[in-house]
Structure formats: C-alpha cells, structure tokens
C-alpha cells in the first residue's frame, strides 16, 4: 500500500513538471494545438486557475490581488478604479480579504477582473496566503510617503515567491504620488527595485487618479496576450507597455 501511494505521488509530480514546461512552450503556439489531455493531470489549483481564465460570461476572467503594508492605499486604489471615488480622510481598514469585480475591455475583448483586496496587517497573512495561489496578477503597493512600507516590499516579494504561482504577473505600485513635499521614497528608488526583481513599476495616486486605470488595464492586457497567444506574445511586455503609457500621458491636471 505504502509503496503504491508513494509511487503514484512520484508520477504525479513528474507529470506536473512536464506540464509546466509544456505550458511555457504552448504560450507561443497554443492556438494550433489543443493540449487538453495533458492538462487534466495538473494539480487542482493550477487547473482551477486556468479554467477561470476562460470564464465564458466574459472573454477572459482574471484574478488580481492587491498586496502591501497596512495603510498604503490598497482599498483606495480599488475604489478609485471601480467606482471612481476617492475616500479622503477616514481610514478604512480591510478585514481579511475583500472581493470585488469589474469588467474592463481590452481591444474589444471583455476582461472580467476579480479583485482581492487584502488586509495589510500581519495577523491576516494566513488567510491571504491561501488565495495567492489562485491569483493571475498581483499589484504590490507601497506608500511613497512611508519609507517602511517601501522597505517591506522585499519581504512581500519573498512571500510572493513562496506562495504565488511562478508565472504570476507582478506590478509594483508607488501609491500616494500626489503627496508633494511629504515624499519619502524617490521615484528612481522604486524603479531600481522593480528592475532588480524584473517587475513592472509605476507611481499611482488614488487621490488624483493618476495611473490607476492603467495599472489594472496593463495586467489585463498582459494576461490577455498570454491567454490568446495569437499575436506573437513575446512582443508584448508589461514593462515596456507601462513605460510607453506613462511617458505618453502624464498626471492629469488635478493636483490640489
């Protein structure tokens, strides 16, 4: 019995590895070959994640998680994105994880974003970890007026590496960019860190709305290209895209 189950486990692990390799290859040529059979052996998490990507109500359904220290503005970014509102003054503290959805359209494709807004506090980590594995994209926030929140980004990236899927899209966001003189983290510092970990980066402001839409649309776009793989997907790169877009249109006329 023991021997048997052990054997089975080994087989499963190896099949999973093979699949992972295959997925990577597939990205460039998925359109032509339907590799359904192989996929059945993927572990349940990966399968669920893949299935959800092909949600039928919309063309694509992707799961986005907002991460970062408590008080960096995760909920505010989300409120700005979803409802176009900015909640000034009162501090709303998230309890556990909050779940919201919004549909955006990317090049005539409807993309449904399922957004997990997590509580930054340490005591909620065990709950949030459970949902890392499902995520297709992670928006990792720090507060440009709060150096500690920036210093903790490395720890967050460590957690991400431990709990999230390898191919997850990560975007680093320096929030509260409207702060003016209170700034404690330079834009270049954020850029440098992002380069070091090769993740996309931009500065945002939930208050002015700067780059908020762009952050979500960029991950949606990236995942859409990965999903379809029709156009040469190597050509699309979030980091380049973000760079282009942020240079094109700078902060809308809004400050104070």
């Amino acid at each position: 019995m023991d021997c048997d189950s052990g054997h089975r486990r080994i087989v499963r692990v190896s099949s999973k590895k093979r699949n992972n390799g295959e997925v990577n290859v597939n990205r460039s040529c998925r359109n032509s070959t339907a590799s359904v059979n192989e996929e059945e052996e993927i572990d349940p998490y990966t399968r669920r994640r893949k299935e959800s990507l092909k949600n039928n109500a919309c063309d694509i359904c992707i799961k986005v998680m907002l991460l970062g220290d408590s008080g960096v503005g995760k909920t505010c970014i989300l409120m700005r994105f979803r409802d176009g509102l900015f909640l000034c003054g009162n501090f709303i503290s998230t309890v556990g994880v909050d779940f919201r959805t919004k549909v955006v359209s990317v090049d005539n494709t409807k993309v449904k974003l399922q957004i997990w807004d997590t509580a930054g506090q340490e005591r909620f980590r065990s709950v949030t970890h459970a949902y890392y594995r499902d995520a297709h994209a992670l928006l990792l926030l720090y507060d440009v007026t709060n150096k500690t929140s920036f210093d903790n980004i490395r720890a967050w990236l460590g957690e991400i590496r431990e709990y999230a899927q390898d191919d997850v899209v990560i975007m680093l966001l320096g929030n509260k960019a409207d702060c003016g003189s209170e700034r404690a983290v330079k834009r270049e510092e954020g850029e440098r860190l992002a380069r070091e970990y090769s993740v996309a980066f931009m500065e945002t402001s939930a208050k002015s709305g700067q780059n908020v839409e762009l952050a979500f649309v960029a991950v949606a776009r990236e995942l859409k290209y990965r999903q379809n793989g029709q156009r040469d997907c190597n050509k699309f790169n979030v980091q380049d895209y973000v760079r282009e877009q942020t240079q094109k249109s700078h902060c809308p006329p809004c400050t104070t």
């Binding site: 709303i92 309890v95 779940f99 919201r100 709950v127 949902y131």
Partner: protein, 487 residues
C-alpha cells in the same frame, strides 16, 4: 404587586443563543472547532497548544519616559486626557503598553509601568489586586493571562459593569488572534509588542467601548431582534438553510441589520453566546470596508472556542437592502462556495419579497411607548432570560437627546437587581424626573421608566397591561424558533 407571573412573553423551548448570567467564564460552552471538523470526517491536523504560560518573574523594567511638561499645550492635553470619564488600558504582564482608550500609549509608558508594578507587587504575596477606590475614582484591575486590563472610571458604573467591559475588551483581542496564539506569543517572548499584530484593532476596541456604554444589550447580556412577521422570519431562515444545505462545516449563519438580529441559523448541537454575537455586531458596525464588497475574514468567537478561528463570509445582502449576512465556517478556503450560496439566498429572498419586508421594518422603526398606547410609560426594556433576547421601544422625549442619561438609569437599576451583596427582586424608585420600576423574575427582567407623577396602583396595572401587549406581539418581536442546518 401581584406575583403571579405565568405571563412570560418571548419564551420558547429552544433558542439559538446560549443563556447564561455568568458572562466571564471562557470556554464554558465547551464547543470546539475540532469537534466540528472531526465530526464531518475532515481530518486536518490543527495546532492546538493549550499549554498555559507561567510568568513568575519580570526582569524587564518598564521604560519610563521623562515627563517634561515643556509646553502649555502639553499640559492642556494632559488635563483633557486626565478628565476623561472612563479610561481603559491594556498591557502585557511584562508591562508593555498595548492599548489606551484615550491618548497615545507610547506617551503613557510610565503609567503602564505603574499599573504593572501594582499588579505584580500584590501578586508577589500570592494575592490578586482587583480594585482601588480613591474618592470618586475607581480603578479596576483584571488580570487575564497573558494580559492585564485596567479601567479607571469616574462614572457611577458599578464594578461589575466595568469588569464586564474589560472582559469584552479582552475578548475582542482574542477574537482577532485566538487565545492559543496569544498565549504562544508570550510564551516565546515575554516582552513582545502586541500592537504589531493588533494594528487596526484599536478602532474596533474604541468602537466596542462606546458601543457597550450606549447599548442596553451589553449589560443585559441579550440581543434585540428586528421586528418581523413570523412568516417572513421563517422563510428567511428556511431560505438560508436550503441554500446552504450542501455546504459542509457551516457553523452559523447570522443575518443582522441596524444592530438587530434578523435570524440565526446554527449547526445542530452548537449555540452562540450573546457576548460573541455582540463582538460580531461590533465588527460589522465598526468596519466601513464591509459595506461595498464581499469579505472573507478569520474570526475567533471566544465563548464558542477561544483556541481557533472560524472563517466568515461577510456581505450586505444588496445595495437596496442593508442587512448584513455572515456565514461562519471552519473551512479556510470555501469563499467561492459561500459566495455562490449568498447569491442564491439573495435571489430567493428577493423573489419572496423578504428584502422588502426587512426594509419596511428597518424604515418603520419600533413603536414608541405612546404609539403603542402606553402614554404614561416613557421607555422600557424587557429581557426574556431563556432566549437571551430583549425588546425596547423607540426612544421618545425627554430621552431622545439624552440617551446616556436613560442608559445610566437602567444600568443603576440593573445593578440594584444584580449586585452580589443584596440583590433585589423588585425596585420602585420615584424621583422628581421619573419613576423607575425594575422587576426580576425567573423568566424575565423588566425595567420601566414612568412619568414622575404616576401613582403606584396604576403603575402596577400598567405592568400587567404591558406584559400582555408584549405577549401578543411576541412572535414579531422575538426570534422564537432556532433553525439549524440540515445535516
């Protein structure tokens, strides 16, 4: 007064709420998350370190801050702080500040040091400090390992009520971390700064303290239900039961609105303690973030099981019906299952016009005494002991603008009935402002405020009339059934 009390409105053979007068015993319910998990044959190894911590020595000396009263502004601030009527402090056994109701804990480090010294000094003689009375100020100490809770009060609140308040604060902290984790933290590091784990919880505690001072439910140890026709309440309950019939390990489903309970569905064998329900009410009221989304949150109910978390799917029914639904389970990762169940519940409730009924009840408010035909009554509280539920009418003048005064009247009356030295069965007290009658029977407690000029005989006949009125309406005012999930 005639003591024939066969009339006990709101009595029901079974209640989903535990009824108990002794509030402070943790773990008395003996329900356990483990039991629920194992009962449904889900064997998951879960940590359950129950070892108790021992603190005999405190080598850590509290770091005193210099109190240089350098500026007038500081002094003003200090005076204002010192004049607050009620202070609550939480510290670790090692004297580390954790929470202060007013002011900044860091600036008060010296004071926490004094408190810790007092506690440990008395402890060194194998004794335990409970309270100090100094003029009109009372200092209450409650040592609940691994924390020390202190209340300093200039209000007329009795010691029992202050202790109960401190217990609530302790339970609020436990509900965020679990007692097991709390103990483990301090076993590993006696001088741990718990604020690290409690960031954000201070607002919950603030709210809880304000809440507990203004709501009769806290000192009564009961909850109020939203008035609803029986048929509606039953159909809400059965909707929840049927929508969740296939979900394993769902322990409680709680629907509440405006600080009132609409329904409570529970797993067979398990009951909810009113004090746990108060923590849930507090969480829902104090958390703005729950309003616009579905949340998934860990929550420990200290009276239910202080050692582990339940996981809650928390959401408001819909934009047009601000009732909050909590589905509490022992499973950590069934958010989507519960999310779908919630959708089913809302759809079915909408079709059955239940959402509308809830809204109507929310908008209509309760009757005032005068509306119900009791012109000589100003306000009353009726608590049914066996169901741990109570009813109160809407506020009417002169208390609309001075609710605090009304609550204080009730608290004092409650204290007279429940003080340990000389508890009363019946209290009738006349002052120039009002007459208060408080009556404690086997089945219920009744507190009534009359107009000041009412004579005794008509007061007594009004009591009977009122009990009859409540009896007639009991099905609307109370949650008389105790629905359970299908096994």
């Amino acid at each position: 007064m005639s003591s024939n009390v066969e009339l006990e409105p709101g009595v029901t053979p079974e209640s989903g709420l535990v009824t108990t007068d002794s509030f402070d015993n943790l773990g008395q319910m003996g329900s356990s998350l483990e039991e629920i998990k194992s009962a449904s044959a889900v064997s998951q190894s879960q940590e359950s370190n129950e070892s108790n911590s021992h603190y005999d020595e405190f080598d850590e000396s509290p770091n005193c801050m210099e109190t240089t009263a350098k500026e007038d502004a500081d002094l003003e601030e200090y005076k204002e702080w010192a004049n607050k009527k009620n202070h609550v402090f939480v510290l670790s056994l090692a004297g580390k500040p954790i929470y202060s109701r007013h002011g900044n804990e860091d600036k008060l480090a010296w004071l926490f040091g004094v408190m810790q010294t007092l506690v440990s000094f008395v402890q060194s003689n194998d004794d335990c400090i409970t309270s100090i009375q100094a003029g009109d100020t009372v200092f209450i100490f409650l040592v609940k390992r691994p924390l020390i809770m202190v209340a300093v009060s200039k209000t007329q609140d009795c010691i029992y009520q202050l202790i109960s308040q401190l217990n609530y604060v302790f339970n609020q902290i436990t509900s965020m971390l679990t007692l097991t984790r709390l103990n483990r933290i301090y076993e590993q590091r006696q001088n741990y700064d718990l604020r690290r784990l409690l960031s954000g919880v201070e607002r919950l505690i603030d709210h809880l303290l304000d809440f507990s001072e203004m709501e009769p439910s806290f000192f009564l140890g009961a909850v109020q239900c939203l008035s609803l026709a029986t048929s509606i309440r039953d159909s809400i309950s059965s909707t929840i039961v049927s929508a969740c019939s296939k979900i394993k390990n769902l322990v409680f489903a709680i629907l509440l609105a405006d600080n009132k309970l609409i329904t409570l569905v529970r797993m067979k064998k398990y009951y909810l303690h009113p004090a746990d329900l108060h923590l849930i009410f507090n969480l829902v009221q104090a958390s703005e973030s729950l309003k616009n989304s579905e949340s998934w949150t860990p929550l420990c109910l200290p009276h239910f099981d202080p050692s582990g978390f339940l996981y809650g799917h928390v959401s408001y029914l819909s934009e047009d019906c601000q009732a909050c639904l909590l589905l509490l389970t022992v499973e950590r990762d069934i958010f989507f299952t519960l999310s779908e169940a919630k959708q089913r519940i809302v759809e079915k409730l909408r079709r059955g016009n239940c959402l509308q009924a809830i809204n109507e009840s929310l908008n209509a408010k309760e009757d005032t005494c005068a509306n119900a035909g009791f012109t000589e009554l100003r306000h009353y509280l009726y608590k049914c002991k066996s169901t741990a539920q109570f009813y109160q009418p809407s506020l009417s003048p002169p208390y609309v603008l001075s609710k605090q005064r009304l609550i204080d009247l009730y608290k004092r009356a409650y204290q007279r009935l429940h003080c340990t030295t000389r508890p009363l069965k019946l209290l009738f007290e006349r002052s120039s402002d009002e007459v208060i009658l408080a009556w404690d029977t086997k089945g219920f407690e009744l507190y009534i405020i009359f107009e000041p000029l009412i004579d005794t005989t008509s007061a007594i006949s009004l009591v009977t009339k009122l009990l009859n009125w409540i009896k007639k309406k009991e099905e609307r005012l109370f949650h008389l059934t105790s629905p359970t999930f299908l096994k």
